[in-house]
């Protein structure tokens, strides 16, 4: 697995810039993808360490991407941080995500929480309690 890769799947330019910067600061190689289908395509070829995922995406919605990548054995160690403005859909996908952030999400918040997530290996299918607190 490529320890260095972070995928920011976000269609809003500003949000993607902020998330990408937070990943860069953590020393990760960062790619920004701004549509759902492109994200699915890209995930066929790479194994990111962490994905920052928006739920409102063109073509394929974030929850479908989340389900697809959780069904993929290759991506079992990939951390997924969902960033959404909609608390209701956040609640629905919570069990599949490592962390759910309700927008507005601050740069420092994404940076610090992601750093803590990456510092511990991902237990199969479970969120790590420390990472969330």
């Amino acid at each position: 697995m490529n320890e260095k890769l972070a995928l920011v799947i976000e269609d809003d330019y500003d949000a993607s810039m902020i998330f990408a910067k937070a990943m860069e600061v953590l020393g990760l190689h960062t790619e920004i993808i701004n549509s759902g289908d492109a994200a699915l395509e890209r995930l066929q070829h790479v194994v990111p360490a962490i994905i920052i995922l928006d739920l409102h995406l063109p073509n394929v919605v974030g929850s479908d991407i989340l389900r697809a990548l959780r069904a993929d054995e290759r991506l079992i160690e990939t951390r997924v941080v969902v960033a959404t403005a909609d608390p209701r859909s956040a609640e629905l996908i919570q069990p599949l995500a490592d962390l759910v952030l309700i927008k507005p999400t601050m740069f420092s918040q994404v940076r610090d929480l992601s750093a803590r997530l990456l510092s511990v290996p991902r237990n199969h299918g479970r969120r790590t309690a420390e990472a969330v607190d």
Binding site: D14, A15, I18, K103, P104, M106, F107, S108
Partner: protein, 564 residues
């Protein structure tokens, strides 16, 4: 029998006259029967022994024929003429027949004497009660004349006195009979009158009911909402034409069908079961239940139908076409959601970039630059808060703010609040004290997010308006079914005149305070509406210079999941 009674029947406006003449008819019939019997008997005697002397038999035949003729004439007279004429003639003839039917000695003082009692008795009932005396006088004269003229003896006084005694008895009994009959007739007349009056009243009442019912029917038929009434067996008994906009049945086919049959595949299984459940519940009384019926959205109100003494006799459902409102709701909801997204996104970007600048991502900032960024962040957060409040208010008004019940651990709630509010209190050097009484519940089923929103709002206000002293949160139980949260501050207090409107939207106590402590004036309005949604009440205890306590009392019973 019919024929006989029609023969005897007399029509007269005077009931007493009719009774007398009818009685005469009966007597005439009796006499005629005797005459016919005598005629037949005499004829048979002559035919059976042709050789014998037949003088007496021939006289009997002649007498019988003569009697029959007389009876016939009297009958005709009786039928045609009202009054005593026929009766008097009949009695006279009868008396004369008795006078000449036997030997003078027998008539005046022998076996035929008692026969005169018959016309005397009859006179009192056939003519009038006192007529028996006239008949007695007549009989007395006849007997006296026969005694003196034919027999040349003095009349038998005991016989004549006997006539008068019979006349007296007969007069008395006839008179009481007549009075009894008269009373009976009066009673009957009164009864008839009463029946007529009752019938008239009944007809009037019936007419009233009919017109009332017509009016009600007209009202029912002109109601734009569909109305349908079900009896205890769940069968439709009344429906108005407006109901056919939902049902695929002509109105006349509705009565007698049950709800399940009427809904007929156009309604989803779950909605149908919900409706049937409402109909079967003992205490139906719900309104504004919405579901899709075919291509329409229906809003239904259900209520029990009660009779005059409060017994339920069935269930009435009123169905309103809610399609357009539902569409507007959806549009409003879509608008709120879009506005929410569109307003928050740029604010979030501003916060994000400011945060990056503050964090030194683009290099170290000078103190002045840092100060400017702090102001940018503070103002953006204020703006974001305002947007959030407006959107909450819009959602509450649209009835779209749905509760999500889940267990709330009271100590966790308090810990979270201490973490959030502690920073703010510290900035203003205020003491923040959160306490949970022994009596307080450990866990309640409520909406944690909304509960926290309420308390953040109240405690945020308390911190905002208090310059020195403390802000306290106390959680305790008020009674077996309720728990309470008190947010108390040592701030300026709220004047009495403001306490009435403080929970209204867009209101703040006075403009100077508002200007100093920026806010939309929506916070307390949202608090009140959220508390109401959670099934509780919020109240205020405050006086100028004495601080304020906002008290929220919530039920311990779990809140219910709301359907979208």
């Amino acid at each position: 029998m019919q024929f006989v009674s029609s023969l005897l029947d007399i029509r007269s406006i005077d009931a007493e006259d009719a009774r007398r003449r009818q009685l005469l008819n009966i007597l005439l019939l009796g006499v005629a029967a005797i005459a016919v019997f005598a005629l037949v008997a005499a004829t048979l005697t002559i035919l059976s022994s042709p050789q014998s002397e037949h003088g007496e038999n021939l006289i009997m035949i002649g007498g019988s024929v003569f009697t029959l003729l007389g009876v016939g004439l009297l009958y005709l007279l009786n039928r045609r003429r009202a009054g005593w004429a026929a009766g008097a003639l009949f009695l006279t003839l009868l008396t004369l027949v008795f006078a000449f039917a036997d030997k003078p000695a027998e008539v005046a003082a022998g076996r035929s004497l008692f026969l005169f009692a018959i016309p005397i008795l009859m006179a009192s009932v056939l003519l009038f009660p006192a007529a028996s005396f006239i008949a007695a006088v007549g009989a007395g004269i006849i007997v006296s004349v026969i005694s003196v003229v034919s027999l040349d003896i003095l009349p038998t006084m005991p016989a004549i006195l006997g006539f008068f005694a019979v006349a007296l008895v007969s007069w008395l009994s006839a008179r009481s009979l007549q009075r009894a009959l008269e009373d009976l007739r009066v009673t009957n007349r009164e009864l008839d009158q009463r029946v007529i009056e009752r019938t008239r009243d009944l007809a009037a009442a019936l007419k009233r009911v009919q017109s009332e019912s017509n009016k009600n029917q007209a009202i029912l038929e002109s109601i734009a909402d569909g109305v349908i009434v079900f009896d205890h067996q769940g069968q439709a008994i009344v429906a108005n034409p407006a109901i056919t906009q939902f049902l695929n049945f002509p109105i006349e086919h509705i009565p007698g069908r049950d709800l399940s049959a009427l809904m007929n595949g156009d309604v989803r299984e779950a909605d149908r079961n919900m409706m049937l459940g409402l109909l079967e519940s003992d205490e139906p009384g719900r309104s504004g239940i919405k579901f899709d019926w075919g291509r329409k959205t229906v809003s239904v109100s259900v209520a029990a139908v009660r009779d005059g003494v409060g017994e339920t006799t069935g269930t009435v459902m009123v169905m309103r076409d809610f399609t357009r409102e539902a569409e507007l709701d959806r549009m409003k909801s879509a608008f709120v959601s879009t506005a929410s997204h569109e307003l928050r996104t740029p604010l979030n970007a501003i916060l994000g970039y400011s945060d990056m600048l503050q964090e030194g991502v683009y290099g170290e900032l000078s103190d002045e630059q840092d100060g400017a960024i702090v102001r940018v962040v503070a103002n953006t957060k204020r703006m974001l808060n305002l947007v959030n409040n407006l959107l909450d208010q819009a959602q509450i008004e649209a009835g779209q703010l749905k509760l999500r019940p889940s267990p709330v651990v009271i100590h966790e709630l308090v810990d979270e609040l201490e973490a959030i509010m502690g920073v703010l209190a510290e900035q203003k050097r205020l003491e923040l004290v959160c306490s949970v009484d022994e009596s307080a519940p450990d866990i309640v089923i409520s909406d944690p997010q909304r509960l926290q929103q309420i308390l953040v709002n109240l405690m945020g206000n308390a911190i905002k308006f208090t310059d020195t002293g403390s802000v306290r949160l106390r959680i305790y139980r008020t009674d077996a079914a309720h728990w309470a949260l008190d947010v108390t501050d040592t701030g300026p207090g709220i004047p009495l005149e403001a306490q009435g409107f403080i929970f209204e939207a867009f209101r703040q106590v006075d403009d100077t305070v508002t200007r100093r402590h920026a806010g939309s004036g929506l916070g307390l309005s949202i608090v009140k509406q959220l508390v109401t949604l959670l099934g509780g009440e919020v109240s205020l205890i405050s006086a100028v210079g004495r601080g304020s306590t906002f008290r929220i009392i919530l039920p311990l019973t779990p809140i219910e999941e709301q359907h979208a």
